[in-house]
């Protein structure tokens, strides 16, 4: 039996939706005719994609450039041990097609950027932002505004999650508030918690990504009250869930009364990322191979580790631990006579430490370990755990 839109198998699959008051077959048809682009197939993307696919969203696009890593498996429930090293979008596509063969999945194995966003967004109605960085978050916001897409957005940090629906299309044709009405400009890199201070409790993206899926389904099926002009903030430690109201901001640089951003821009630069990278290339570097030779050759040098204690406890290469935040107060413990190799997890914080020490104290003997302890584990000692 078919009803013109759904095959027998689909009617059976979606039966719990079809008998749902205020949803029914009409709601299910709306889901089938909706195309949702999910950006990020990580912690938030996993539950989001699974629920959207299971619910019968007609077409789902997945954007991610990353491959599955061991450290993802603590929260990214789409993936298994066998998937480590494979492109996330390919694994996700296969998994979702197995979950629901009645929908279409499109995979974009690329990093979302100003020069590809129009092409990728083109055929989608709703964008779901599940990314993990500010440049992409502001790019998605601005692109959704310029191209007229609803942005169902979620973000997480440690034990806290946020959900909102931006740029919602109201019945009168106007658009609801967007991300920049809440936060007009991104934080500069120095004020963003670093990767060491970040982290996330594994189940949190499961909760927040599920709330995000719920909002996508509400927008697609036109039911309930989506979080338009509202920001839901969830604290996993207390289970406090608070909803804050916000309105359009006349000073919004994209959609305010006197916009200063009228087209897509360089979002890495907008978030100050370029500046940081430039700074890191200005410091002298040593490769992990050079460090190994110095160690093996009994060369007299000092190794400084600027990560946090909890990172040091996971893995260390016998460096003296002075966290970045304390580095200037402990400058007297750093040698001025012999070469000093400074390292962190991947090389960004150690470059910042060197730049600060050179500027404040005139050090000339500091070298950044290129690629940090991750590169050391990859190229010198594979027995070391990576995180």
């Amino acid at each position: 039996m078919e009803n013109g839109v759904f095959k027998k198998e689909e009617l059976e699959r979606y039966s719990r939706h079809l008998i749902l008051p205020k949803f029914g077959i009409e709601g299910q048809q709306k889901l089938k005719h909706t195309k949702v682009l999910v950006i990020g197939s990580g912690g938030l993307g996993a539950p989001l994609l699974l629920y959207l696919a299971a619910a019968g969203i007609g077409k789902i696009g997945i954007v991610d450039f990353d491959v599955v890593d061991d450290s993802n498996l603590q929260r990214q429930v789409l993936f298994t041990v066998d998937d480590v090293g494979k492109p996330k979008v390919e694994v996700a596509k296969k998994r979702l097609e197995a979950l629901n063969p009645h929908i279409q999945i499109e995979a974009f194995n690329e990093r979302l950027a100003s020069d590809n966003v129009e092409r990728i967004f083109k055929s989608y109605d709703i964008v779901a932002d599940g990314t993990d960085n500010f440049p992409t978050r502001y790019l998605i916001n601005d692109a959704c505004y310029f191209y007229g897409k609803v942005n169902v957005s979620a973000s997480i940090f440690r034990f806290e999650g946020q959900v909102s629906v931006y740029n919602y299309l109201n019945e009168d044709g106007s658009r609801g508030p967007n991300y920049r009405d809440l936060y007009p400009e991104p934080p500069p890199p120095g004020l963003v918690p670093s990767c060491a201070e970040g982290g996330v409790i594994g189940v949190l993206p499961g909760i927040i990504g599920s709330l995000q899926a719920n909002e996508v389904i509400k927008v697609a099926a036109n039911i309930g009250e989506p979080l338009v002009g509202k920001l839901l903030v969830f604290d996993a430690l207390t289970l406090d869930s608070r909803v804050f109201k916000f309105e359009k901001n006349k000073d919004n640089p994209v959609s305010g009364t006197n916009p200063s951003i009228n087209e897509l821009i360089d979002y890495e630069a907008h978030c100050g990322i370029i500046k940081t990278e430039k700074k890191s290339t200005e410091v002298k570097e040593k490769s992990v191979e050079e460090l190994k030779k110095m160690k093996d050759g009994q060369e007299d040098f000092q190794l400084i580790d600027v990560r946090e204690q909890h990172e040091y406890d996971i893995v260390n290469i016998d460096g003296k631990l002075i966290p970045l935040g304390d580095i200037l107060q402990h400058a007297s413990e750093i040698s001025r006579e012999k070469p000093v190799i400074v390292h962190c997890r991947s090389g960004v914080r150690s470059a910042t430490a060197i730049a600060q020490l050179e500027k404040e104290f005139g050090f000339e003997n500091l070298y950044n370990l290129k690629g940090g302890v991750l590169a050391y584990a990859d190229e010198i000692d594979p027995s070391l755990p990576k995180y």
Binding site: T131, A196, K245
Partner: protein, 93 residues
Amino acid sequence: MARIIIPTPLRKFTKDESTFFSSKKNVLEAIEELSSFYPEIKNNLFDEDNKLRSFVKVFVGDKDYNSLQEKDIELQDDTVVSIIPAIAGGTGK
């Protein structure tokens, strides 16, 4: 005393305390009192011109502080002031 809720990303500046009680009757004064008590938090809340940073939002109850007409809205004993910064995940970029 009004209660200020400190968000997770800023708790490293408040010795992991999640709340701060202020006897001030004005929102900005209460946040400034918080900044005086925990000086390291100040740079994350206010810019060089002592204005709230563009990636930090303050809500009084469930209302956006910036959109309230009465800027010097009086804080009551049961008022909850929430500081909500933009968060983007754990990559640190």
